[in-house]
Amino acid sequence: MESVSASGLSKDYQVGKLTVNALKNLNFSIGSGAFVSFVGPSGSGKTTLLNLIGCLDKSTQGVLSVAGVDVARLNRKQSALFRGENLGFIFQDFNLLPVLTVFENVEYPLLMVRKTPAADRKKRVLQLLEEVGMTDQKDKFPDQLSGGQKQRVAVARSLITNPKIVLADEPTANLDHKTAYMIIGLLKRMRDELNTTFIFSTHDPKIVGEAETIYTLEDGELNGSQERSDKRA
C-alpha cells in the first residue's frame, strides 16, 4: 500500500515579480513502512517537498496523495485534523514546547489534538518514553536536556498518535555524529516496531546511507532514486 504518491507535482513561489520553481514535475511513490530519505544540496526543494507531504503547503500543479488522501483538497482546518490523525513531525531544532515537561511534550498531541482519555495517554506516553530511553527524564523541562535527548523526546512525540507517516526535516543537523546515528537507529527501530513510514530530508552523506530508499533532489527536480534493500532489518 502506498503511503505517499506524487504525480506531476510542482510548486512555484512568487518572489516579487519573479517566479521560483521550487519543485518541478515530481513523480514518486513511497510504500507503507518505508524508510525514505530525500537528499540534495541546500535549496534543492527538500523542505518544500516535506511541507507539501506534511499538508503545511499546497502544490501549484499535480496530484499528491498522502495516506490515500488528495491533500490539495483539504482546507486549513481539515489539514490540521489530517496532520493530527495521520502525520508525525520531527524538526531540525527539536521544537519542544519549553513550558512543558518531557512527559507533557510527548503527551501534547494526545491531549490537544486527539483528546485521548487520561489513563490511555499516560500508558502510551510512558511506553514511548521507555522506547526512546527517556523515562528517567520525564519530569525535566527541555532546557534541562541535551540535543540528543531533546530529539529523542521529539521522536516520541512524533509517534505518540500512531501516525501513518513521520516526516523529519534534517532531524540530525543539530546533533553530533554519534547522536545522529543513535537517532536514525531509533527511528528505524520504531519503524520496525510500528510499521510507520519515515520520510526524512538530509544533506549529511553518512546519515543518507542509513535510508532504504534515497531520492535525490537537485534544483527542484527528482534526479534519481536508489533502493538499498540491505538496510531493511
Binding site: G84, E85, L87, N95, L97, V99, P109, M112, V113, S158
Partner: protein
Amino acid sequence: MAVRKGATNVLNVIKIAARNLLRYKRRTLLVSLLIAIGVIFVQVFISGTAAYKNIIISQITDAMLGHIQIHKKGYLVSIENVPLNLNLKPHAVEKIEAGLKTIPEIDAYSMRLRLGGMISNFTETTNIRLFGIQPKQEYKTAPLLPGRILEGKSELESGQILVPSTLAKGMHLKVGDLIVIIATNKDGSVNGKQFVVGGILEAAPGPGGRDGYIHISDAAELLRLDDAEISEIALHLKNFKDIPNVYAQLTQKLGGELNKEGKTAFEIHTWEKLSPFANIAKMLDLMTVFVKIMLVTIVVISILDVMMMSVYERTREIGTIAAIGTLPSRILAMFITEGLLFGLSGVVLGNLVSYIIVRILQSMHITFSFGMREGLVLDPKFDPWSVTAISLIVIVISVIASVQPAFKAARLDPIKALRTT
C-alpha cells in the same frame, strides 16, 4: 463523559497558558501590577466618592429636604416667593394622602406649610422664612433634623420657634427669648404672633437649609388660614434606592389629577430636582466613568502590547503546535486564556489591595465639612457590586484585548512560523 473531556481540555489550555505567563515572570508581574494599580485606583476612587455622595445626600435629604416632595403645580418655580396662593387645599391633600398610603415603600411623610415673614426681637427686625410642621411627622421624614438643634429641645411645641443659628447669632437670640413673627396673609393683610425661641438650629446645606421652624397650627394661625392648607408634602422612603420606583408610582397615581385648566394638578420632584448637589453628584458619577475608561485603556494597552510581544516571540512554537495538528481554534483559545489570566491576576491582586486600603481609610476616620456642617466622617465601603462590576469589566476587556493577538497566532502560516528563529 463528553463534559469531563471538555473540562480536561479547558484545564489543559489553562495550564499551558499559565505556564507561558510564568515563563516571562517579570513581564507578567509588571502587567499584572499595572492592571492591579488601575483596579486599586478605581475601587478606592469609587469607594471614596460613593461614601462622600452618600453622606452629603443623606445630609440634604434627611436633614431637611426629604427624598421626594409633592407640590401644587407651579409651586416650585415660585418657591423663592413662598406663594400662598399655590398651597394645596384639604381636598387635594386628601387625594395625595390616599395615594401615599397605598405605597408600602414610603416610610413617613410630612405636611409643611411654608411662609415668609419678618422676625423681630423688639430691637431688631429682619427677614425670615419658616416651615410650619407637625414635629412628629417632620422628624420621621427628616430624621437628622433633631440633630441640627444646637441649643434647646427638639420637641417643638405650639408657640415655640426653632431659629436658624446664623439669624440667632445676628440678632443675639437665646433659647427662651421672646420674638415676634410678622407675616403677610394671602389677602395682603399683615398679622403678627409672639413666639418663644425653643431652639437654635444649625444650618443645613441646600435650599431651605437656613429656614426656621414653627408648629403648623401656629403657621396657619399666623397666615389666618381657615382651611388646613399646606405648601408641600415631603416623603421619606424606607430605602433610598426606591426613589425611582416610588416616583413612578406617584406619577401614575397622581398624574391623572387635573386642575381647572385641565392640566396636571400636582408636581412631584425627587431630591435631585430640588437640590443643586445633584449636579455635583452627577459630576462625581461622570468622573467615575472617566476613571473606568482610564482603567479600560490601561488594561487594553498593556494586554495588547504584551500579547503581541508574546505572539512575536513564540511564533516558532505556534508553528510547531500548528504543524502537529493543533486546530487554529485551540491556538486562539490558548492565547485568549493568557489574556484572561492576566486580567484575573490583576483583578485579584487589585481587589485585595483595594480592600486593605479601604479598611485603612475606614480606620482613619477622615472628616470633612460640607456647607455649615463640619466633622462629617468619610466612611468608604468596599461595595460588592462595584467589585463585581469592575472585575467583570477588567476580565472582559482583558479577553477582548487578547483577541487580536490570539487571532494573529491562530492564523499564522505554520511554514512561515517554523522558519522564524
